[in-house]
Symmetry: none
Subunit: 69 residues, 2 copies
Amino acid sequence: MVHARTPEAESLLTPAEVATMFRVDPKTVTRWAKAGKLTSIRTLGGHRRYRETEVRALLGGVPLQRSGQ
Amino acid sequence: MVHARTPEAESLLTPAEVATMFRVDPKTVTRWAKAGKLTSIRTLGGHRRYRETEVRALLGGVPLQRSGQ
DNA sequence: TCCTACTTGGGTAATTTGGGCG
DNA sequence: ATTGTCCAAATTACCCAAGTAG
């Protein structure tokens, strides 16, 4: 792949990852999304993905600076 | 208005790029294409390419923060 | 303590997704 | 890197019980 083209994709998190970060059950994260408390992006299969920036902000307002992983 | 005669076809994305944008496995993107949920263009070698415009639209179109869903 | 409203987690079944292999 | 297939893990949606807060 010679393209130096990175389709500006904001990093997304899976339900399990968000659940781990908040120390709750993945099901609870789903409820937050349904309640509109958390923005969710859907895969074409209906699964949810969450914006990392939003989650981090809710977790403590620590901005993401893109340093490795 | 930009160039009115740019020979480059509309930008196409590789399976890996689409997968990254949706935070799914490339294999999953292939499933979407086979299921007809995503338009796929075939290279002469049989690999798939996807329309960037379509992918972006499916990802939420407007990157503006949406409150509630 | 009791009561009420809200939040969370367990259970189930169906679907979607990811890992391993060729 | 992509394709294809099989199988396990994750996610979804639902209802219901347990926990939390005032």
